[in-house]
């Protein structure tokens, strides 16, 4: 703010000097010119009266000729200075107004306001760099969970959209280059409450720069980065970027998961979606020849995965000079029937419309379906504005990079245990995953189950913490009983258990808890509520562990003690 004040003062120096000089001359003149009072005596206006007169003359208030009617000489002086003072005022005010609407000053003011808003944040928050499709999806879901964030984007228009939505949480945004360290610091990189910085701008180089800046300026902050090429990924990994997300690689891995472990993929999809969405089913991906249209980053990532799994694939690519094209590539646009036929579409089981142009991808889908109606279609969607078109195209799998990144980052930010669970689950067989998905479906048949973490501490599990402090042993199996009838099990699953020795997937029921342990539950909203009783209420916990009800009043306790 100080810089803004100094800027205004320096720029107003000229007008203010002019104004005070004009006032000084006008006032001095009035005191020197002799006047005549009511009785005909000569008098000289005092400085007090002269300054009073000039003040109301210059501001066009005009109280009249005081303290006595003026002589002609005084009127002549007043006449000249009436115009001069008014003109000077207009000039001064004009200079002030143009200064206030000056872009530099406005930017200084918004930056000051942003800096203030960020400094006032008292809760943990995330710094999001890039407010494009991914960024806005991410911020929306954070906002819905009442999680604070700050945003930097290079385009002011996008931030206008951010400012329009301030319910239920105000999220400060800065228009500026996220690659500039000073902007990152302004957005709270070095703020003690900054938990995590998310670099999801469109520019790989900027993301890389954000990651290294964050690691240098505040090593405690977790860094999540989007990367579109393997060399940038390797570079980011070299200085310890915590999570690197490549949407195409991610999707290609999921696709290969879909071919050999569809239930594993189902688990991933369920746990990455926002809660309350309807349950989805396993997508059966057929085995056979695949056709990949477009050999950009997306096509390459898919081709690599398919070759690794020894699934036959043909590539169609309009540009023959694309590096790394496989030997049997068909050169030509995938939108035309003869190229698709040349790639043997009649024998193919699936097609991947993976160019970076939405209209071409839609055209590929339509043409390919005409040639082979049984095709399994995977469509890549680049822009969110084409949502309805792609929904109408009835592609079997839709791939939208912004969705892939946003859902992955959302789980990382809101519930990192889910990510730990998924990486442990990947080591298990598909049958194991099928059993788990069946159990989840039996618990919550309609919508996606809710997943929530619990740490054994004062805030999350006060009753358990107290019981452990008294030396009693509480097991995971105890917690999953219902506090209404202890023989009844709560409809929930303990997905993950983590203590100082390590993290375990689906722990045993008789695992004893100790303070500081972390648990990940999946279940219905109802079971979430009921579990809270066991965690927080002493009487409920006592009942589920022993079967008897603790007397709640002092008298009751005394009676019980004397009876026992």
């Amino acid at each position: 703010m100080a810089s803004v004040v100094f800027l205004i003062l320096r720029r107003m120096r000229g007008p203010l000097l002019l104004l005070s000089t004009v006032y000084a001359i006008a006032t001095l003149g009035l005191t020197l010119i002799p006047g005549v009072d009511d009785e005909g005596n000569t008098w000289h206006m005092s400085f007090f009266h002269a300054f009073y007169f000039v003040s109301f003359m210059g501001t066009t208030i005009g109280f009249g000729e005081i303290p006595h009617p003026f002589t002609e000489a005084q009127r002549m002086w007043a006449l000249v200075f009436m115009y001069i003072t008014v003109a000077t005022w207009i000039y001064t005010l004009g200079a002030l107004i143009s200064l206030l609407s000056n872009d530099t000053l406005k930017r200084a003011l918004t930056e000051y306001r942003f800096r203030f808003q960020v400094r006032m944040i008292r809760e943990p928050f995330f710094l999001i760099c890039g407010y494009g499709e991914t960024g806005s999806k991410l911020v929306r879901s954070l906002r819905n969970r009442l999680l604070q964030a700050t945003v930097i984007d290079i385009l002011p228009d996008r931030l206008d959209a951010l400012m329009m939505e301030d319910d239920p949480l105000f999220i400060p945004g800065l228009a500026g280059d996220a690659g500039a360290p000073e902007n990152l610091v302004m957005a709270g990189l070095t703020h003690p409450m900054c938990q995590c910085i998310v670099a999801i701008t469109n520019d790989n180089a900027v993301n890389l720069h954000i990651a290294i800046t964050a690691k240098v300026l505040n090593p405690n902050v977790r860094v999540i980065c989007r990367a579109d090429s393997s060399d940038v990924e390797a570079n980011m990994a070299s200085f310890g970027t915590d999570y690197i997300i490549d949407p195409f690689d991610n999707f290609a891995k999921n696709l290969s998961l879909a071919t050999y472990a569809p239930h594993q993929l189902l688990l991933v999809n369920w746990f990455r979606q926002p809660r309350g969405e309807p349950l989805t089913n396993v997508t059966e991906v057929p085995h056979g020849l695949w056709i990949i249209c477009g050999f950009g980053r997306f096509g390459k990532a898919i081709y690599r995965e398919l070759t690794r799994l020894e699934i036959p694939a043909r590539v169609i690519e309009p540009n023959a000079k694309t590096p790394g094209l496989p030997a049997n590539t068909v050169i030509g646009p995938g939108t035309e029937a003869h190229t698709l036929n040349a790639a043997n579409i009649a024998q193919a089981v699936g097609i991947i419309a993976g160019s970076n142009n939405d209209s071409n991808n839609l055209s590929i889908i339509v043409t390919a379906r005409q040639l082979n109606p049984k095709l399994f279609v995977i469509a890549r969607q680049t822009s969110q504005t084409n949502d309805e078109l792609f929904a109408a195209s009835e592609a079997d799998i839709m791939m939208q990079p912004s969705d892939v990144i946003a859902s992955k980052i959302r789980t990382l930010l809101t519930n990192p245990l889910v990510d730990d669970f998924l990486s442990l689950a990947r080591a298990r067989s598909d049958d194991w995953a099928r059993t788990l998905t069946d159990r989840l479906r039996s618990i919550s048949p309609e919508v996606l189950p809710r997943t929530w973490p619990v740490t054994i501490n004062e805030t999350d599990a006060a009753a358990v913490q107290m019981a452990l402090a008294e030396g009693r042993s509480v097991t995971i199996g105890d917690l999953t009983r219902s506090h209404i009838d202890r023989n009844e099990k709560l409809p929930l699953i303990v997905l993950l258990y983590s203590d100082e020795t390590g993290t375990f997937c689906m722990p045993d029921e008789d695992t004893a808890l100790s303070p500081g342990d972390q648990l990940l539950f999946a279940g219905t909203e109802e079971s979430h509520r009921r579990l809270k009783w066991n965690l927080m209420n002493e009487t409920a916990l006592h009942y589920i562990m022993t079967g008897d009800t603790l007397p709640q009043t002092l008298l009751g306790r005394w009676l019980k003690a004397s009876a026992g």
Binding site: R13, L17, A24, S46
Partner: protein
């Protein structure tokens, strides 16, 4: 030789000299202290203040502070004068004159500091 520096130094020194001109004389004798001199002192001090606006250096900040002090002292002196003559009607009694002149004396000290700072800076930055 820089015209801006000339104007700057001129104004600051003039603020001191005019202030001194008003201050000198018997403290309670209205004949020794002319209203025009007070008026000139206020105007020159205001100009000096405005010229010091916007300098972000430490020296600039202190110079601005001394000027603001001088302004407040001189405006207070003028206010006392105006009140005694026009509002209360006591007139320029020795008591009133003494307080006007002592207020101007305070401004004089601020102006002396201002000039001293200017001189120090000039000596230190001599090229």
């Amino acid at each position: 030789m820089n015209l801006e520096k000339v104007v700057f130094a001129f104004t600051i020194i003039l603020a001191l000299t005019v202030n001194f001109g008003f201050f000198i004389g018997d403290i309670d004798n209205p004949a020794h202290h002319h209203v025009l001199e007070l008026y000139a002192a206020i105007f020159v001090n205001a100009v000096a203040t405005i010229l010091k606006f916007g300098d972000r250096s430490h020296m600039g900040a202190v110079l601005l502070a001394t000027s603001l002090v001088a302004d407040i002292q001189l405006v207070a002196a003028a206010a006392v004068w105006g009140y005694a003559v026009h509002v209360s009607g006591v007139g320029l009694t020795p008591t009133v004159m003494a307080s006007i002149v002592s207020l101007a004396g305070g401004a004089l000290i601020a102006n002396v500091i201002s000039v001293a700072l200017l001189a120090t800076e000039t000596v230190l930055l001599r090229r």
